[in-house]
Symmetry: C2
Subunit: 478 residues, 2 copies
Amino acid sequence: MPHASEPTQRSRWSVALRFSATLLVAVVIWLIPAPQGVAVEAWHLLAIFVATIVGIVLEPMPMGAVALFGVAATMLTGTLTVNDALSGFSNRVIWLVLMAFFIARGFIKTGLGARIAYCFVGLLGRRTLGLGYSMAATDFVLAPAIPSNTARAGAVVFPIVRSVAHAFDSRSEDGTSRKVGAFLIQCAFHGNLITSAMFLTAMAANPLAAQMAGDQGIEITWARWAVAASVPGLLSLLVVPFVLYKLYPPQITETPQASQMAKSKLAEMGPMKRSEWFMLGTFVLLLILWIFGRTLHVHSTVAAMFGLCILLITSVLTWEDVLREKAAWNTFIWLSALVMMASFLSKLGLIAWFSETVGGLFTDVGWIPAFLALSLIYFYSHYFFASNTAHVSSMYAAFLAVAVAVGTPPVLAALVLGFFSNLFSSMTHYSTGPAPVLFGAGFVQLPDWWKLGAVVSVVNVAIWLGIGGCWWKILGLW
Amino acid sequence: MPHASEPTQRSRWSVALRFSATLLVAVVIWLIPAPQGVAVEAWHLLAIFVATIVGIVLEPMPMGAVALFGVAATMLTGTLTVNDALSGFSNRVIWLVLMAFFIARGFIKTGLGARIAYCFVGLLGRRTLGLGYSMAATDFVLAPAIPSNTARAGAVVFPIVRSVAHAFDSRSEDGTSRKVGAFLIQCAFHGNLITSAMFLTAMAANPLAAQMAGDQGIEITWARWAVAASVPGLLSLLVVPFVLYKLYPPQITETPQASQMAKSKLAEMGPMKRSEWFMLGTFVLLLILWIFGRTLHVHSTVAAMFGLCILLITSVLTWEDVLREKAAWNTFIWLSALVMMASFLSKLGLIAWFSETVGGLFTDVGWIPAFLALSLIYFYSHYFFASNTAHVSSMYAAFLAVAVAVGTPPVLAALVLGFFSNLFSSMTHYSTGPAPVLFGAGFVQLPDWWKLGAVVSVVNVAIWLGIGGCWWKILGLW
């Protein structure tokens, strides 16, 4: 039985400080009188909500624990009833994410994820640029069913990047990083962010955004998200690695051995195992159910739970695997807490009040410049965030409400802000889960990371608002 | 990364057989036309519910997985909406249990549970009978905050029983079991069942029973349960070890060294650690909040979540401890699933229909003989169950409804059936979680286990219905 390590004096102080700061935020907002037109409970909930976000950023404790404190606070202060405070835990979008977390484990456990990666390396890996595309392609294939972008980048793609880089004697520590490794790391990182933007189930905060849109009466289904993201997403996946190749060229450009190595890895793996076939079959079935869910009258959550049941019946996953998937339970707690609070901020009228107040400032400009300004502010404010979730939960609902208030077509606004909630992570090395993992590998220097990130952010914004804008016009979203 | 062990041919067949049997039950009930007066959805839900219970008994998969299949089935068949099917997961009673599971970990992690046990051994352990009482007393003290009776018996009490027994050279393997060990195992086992009956939070299926009663409009609070159980419970805790001592005497009756050993163990442990003080303080606070919750307007779930927050702030528990508490997540899934299905069976009118139909058979007898018959049938049918939960979920709601239909005062009926839902486990070695743990230790022979179990069951029924009946009369429950 492991015992709690006694925190050292310093870290205990640091925790106490972070905790006090979080608490202070709650108390200060709580004590400010609610503005005209805002219900007292709404204001009190805002105090707890903002403090929860601050806590998630300052991290006196892990995210899940902070979120649980937030839920407890809503109940202890009588701001919400017990039933309301717990309502997030039965939210169907959250169960979609929870199920997808368990399903994702199957890709890693069966080795199917690695096999897919090696297939792409075998196909595209004769040149370094092709290797870069193979990383992005692997991430793309896995994205629909792995809602933890960190798991995708960290557990599937990163090990392959590292082993390919090592095969070309490109290491982080001895000045050989630019041979192959640094370029591949960048492709893996930016590829991951683009694929995260392409599917509702590709990043944990996407359903949070969809839920917040739903609270404002804007329905975002799995299929609607995927269709709208498809054209700009695929284009970004094609363009960004090429841009990186030009701006940050690998020293080795021809890599015939990589393709060879992948083939020998695949030979080593042998034919697809029984468990991999079941995993693949379940994945294909899930995609079909998610895409045609509306026609088939199968909700995406039901499809996901059905998928997990298949993996359990076929022994691809054991129940033990499910129970020990700590990241899933952690996400379950924090996502439920945030969804619940955000929903009640909407229900209690705070978001409407905010959008009316702020929207009033934009009355003289048309919705297009207004929405451009709003979405770019939303995008570039991510320099100040270390988590997609913190950013989405604190700003998405309010920005969406203002965008709609100034006349932006609601579905368009919800989707663009949703896509940006992933793409905005390109700029820093602390932006989202995969960033510290991939940056931490040491292949890319900090100034390079930031410079390339800034360029990629501009490329992405141009592609998504430009070509994406045309595509959404065709789709009739505006 | 551990890989799924390929099941052997035989176990795979056995799993397939158990799974098919479970499925068959669902299909057969589903295909039987719903009786007059029962809605089709109610009947279909019954089919899924009964199959889930059968699955929990046959165990083609662990309990949590079976329950998840049940939830998926309600959605896939369109019997319940997605929102309804997931509603159990935000049930406040389930969150009470989930929080209590995490809090219970604190007793084990800090060593406070073991310290309490050694204190009792030091106080009462000079004679073997006293040792028996000290096991029951430890279990009693921990019961309010440890809803897994298996954790209490298996993780706290059992290690002490074994180490005390070994100290007296009483072992399971060499014919010395009857010296001390066998008697102590019996005291630990029956003590555990009695304490489980005494608090709403002392056994995971108790809140399930309370929830089912709530669905029928009968409110059972934490305090109401504890007060009603106090007198017969304490009497049982006094009488049962004495009965065991007479019927199944230990060969060694004087154990002055035990008391000595406990004192040296305590000396070895040193003074209470900081974490133990926090644990104790939280526990006392929780008891106060649970007992006076109604006066203080603090719901028991809120109190429990607050308690967990304190343990996290004070670093008694880490968030990691919470996330890896697999038994908690498992219970969360199965308990939510069963509570949800049982609630909808009630809401859809099936329980009312059943009680009217069966209650009609009892019209000519008074409620007292009718309820006696019902409760004894409920009690002794546990010979056929290997889990309190399976028994409670399949029979409690229906028996309660019939009892009320024949005129039994509702609260009395709900409580008695609730108490019996714990006491009925005395009879076999497979009755409830602690039974296989304690029986499996090998100190007690199977015929002894069953004989003593039968006697104790009679003693408990007599005490709870006799003295308990008088106490409940004083409380005005009938």
